[in-house]
């Protein structure tokens, strides 16, 4: 489905004494299956978000290839949609108009886009808040709206950039469960960036551990937990505990090697 073949990326950093090159990603290889839920975890600044933006086609990469369904990625496309860490809801639009935004850009007619947007707001449990403005909602509700906006265009691949990173712990667990239920119904490929080991293991089929900058794939781990996963049971499952511990060790090792 998604083939990442030897992708590298450097940034020009402008300092007082001239520019230096910062290597963000070095030779990243990853192959993602259709309808797979895959998490990418790594220390801050390891280029996880950069990788996601490259997959989305928002920023160009220096070398290597990204293939989606065999076609090379050069720009954002209708087969992908992003859920942003900071929600990125437009404050001058109501929740409904925010969800319609993605459909507006895809030239969906007014009536159709309202009915699609309403449908997705219902699926994320926001049907009673469609005329509210984003600042009137809690962080968790705002991210539900962000998720509805991404789902509304019916993408094959959902790119999630630490989507629950800025909501409180309880809301985060609720959102994780809701996301899993949605994913099971919608059947989409999800690429999920996180720095929470718990979150990665609970949600994913596979967890990709990345090294510190320049980011590369340190390890790819299968999550041996049956679905559907009940949050409370899963978190007590020894396999869950073992795997999170293993990822923690792996991250520590990657960080030590990187310095």
């Amino acid at each position: 489905m998604v083939e990442i073949q030897g992708v590298s990326k450097s940034f020009q950093k402008i300092l007082k004494d001239g520019t230096t090159e910062v290597k963000a990603l070095a030779d990243v290889h990853l192959s993602i299956r259709e309808n797979e839920f895959i998490s990418i975890i790594g220390p801050s600044g390891c280029g996880k978000t950069t990788l996601l933006k490259i997959i989305d086609g928002l920023i160009p990469h220096d070398s290597g290839k990204i293939l989606i369904g065999g076609k090379q990625v050069t720009a954002p496309g209708p087969d992908r949609a992003v859920v942003f860490q900071t929600f990125a809801l437009l404050p001058w639009r109501t929740v409904l108009a925010n969800v319609e935004f993605s459909l507006e850009l895809r030239r969906v007619a007014k009536e159709e886009r309202t009915s699609i947007a309403r449908d997705y707001l219902k699926r994320v449990g926001l049907e009673d808040f469609e005329l509210h403005y984003p600042h009137e909602l809690s962080g968790g509700m705002q991210q539900r709206a962000g998720l509805a906006r991404a789902l509304a265009v019916n993408p094959l691949i959902l790119l999630m950039d630490e989507p629950f990173g800025s909501v409180d712990a309880q809301t985060r667990q609720l959102l994780q469960e809701e996301l899993l239920q949605l994913w099971q119904r919608e059947q989409k490929t999800v690429i999920f960036i996180t720095h929470s080991m718990d979150e990665a293991v609970y949600l994913s089929d596979r967890v990709v551990v990345m090294t510190p900058r320049p980011g590369r794939v340190a390890e790819i781990l299968d999550v041996p937990l049956a679905r559907p996963r009940i949050a409370d049971d899963v978190r007590r499952d020894p396999k869950f505990v073992d795997l999170t511990n293993y990822i923690w060790d792996s991250l520590k090792k990657a960080m030590e090697n990187g310095h």
């Binding site: 954002p76 209708p78 949609a81 990125a88 001058w92 639009r93 935004f101 850009l105 895809r106």
Partner: protein, 251 residues
């Protein structure tokens, strides 16, 4: 809101009473009592002199301000959007922003003569730079993730402009328009006093040199009221365009 209005009224009434007392006890030529100013104002109003001059002044104000808003927003948008345009112009804009505009009046007389064009030019120059700078700042401060989000959902550059940059910058643009309105009124009176004696400005000069202080104050009060009304109009427009922002401010 309600208590603010009440205090406003108390403030005005207090000032009016103090003024009346001062006028009656002190020199009534220098500080005419409010009642005398009021009757002078009525006299000017009935004779039609105040209204005809006011209409003339407001015409100049509207023309100059309209041009300043249109041009100021266009230039500000370009400067905010394109770094090259910004660096090409910001030197002059910043210099002119804080320069005393009255110094340009003789130049404008040379360029445009003594007619209405010169007065419109003065109003324009007074108002335009603050609109440019606020618009530019507004555009530059647009949250980058909004731009990224729009591009990610496939927005073309024109769509990014109309659907993200313009609405996001609107509060700053309207702040510039509000400040520009205040400066435009100053420009109007300045032009009518320094350029050609016409309109409201001419009345001020005329009554001032004739020591007709009651009529002079009547005209000045009229200017204050006009300034307040125009500011209120801009504020209403602002609320219409950026109501979402006002709601945030209340919270």
């Amino acid at each position: 809101m309600n208590s603010q209005f009440r205090i406003n009224v108390i403030s005005i009434v207090t000032l009016a009473i103090l003024w009346e007392i001062a006028g009656r006890t002190l020199d009534s030529v220098l500080i005419p009592p409010l009642s005398q100013i009021g009757s002078a104002w009525l006299r000017l109003l009935i004779s039609g002199k105040l209204l005809s001059n006011l209409v003339m002044s407001l015409g100049t104000l509207a023309a100059g301000f309209f041009l300043a808003v249109i041009l100021g927003i266009i230039v500000g948008l370009l400067m905010g959007r394109f770094r090259e345009v910004e660096h090409f112009l910001d030197l002059y804009i910043n210099a002119l922003m804080s320069a005393p505009m009255t110094a340009f009046v003789p130049v404008l007389i040379l360029w445009f003569g003594l007619g209405v064009e010169s007065r419109i030019a003065v109003v324009f120059l007074f108002a335009v730079f603050v609109i440019v700078i606020n618009t530019m700042t507004g555009v530059k401060q647009v949250d980058r993730t909004f731009l990224e989000m729009a591009r990610s959902f496939g927005a073309k550059e024109t769509e990014v402009f109309y659907k993200i940059i313009l609405p996001a910058a609107m509060p700053a643009i309207m702040a510039g328009v509000r400040l520009g309105m205040g400066r435009a009124v100053k420009g109007m009176v300045t032009a009518e006093m320094l350029l050609t004696l016409t309109g409201i400005g001419a009345m001020i000069m005329q009554y001032g040199s004739a020591f007709a202080t009651d009529a002079l104050f009547a005209v000045i009060l009229t200017i204050l009221i006009v300034a307040m009304i125009t500011m209120k109009l801009v504020q209403l427009l602002d609320q219409r365009l950026t109501g979402w922002k006002a709601e945030i401010a209340i919270e």
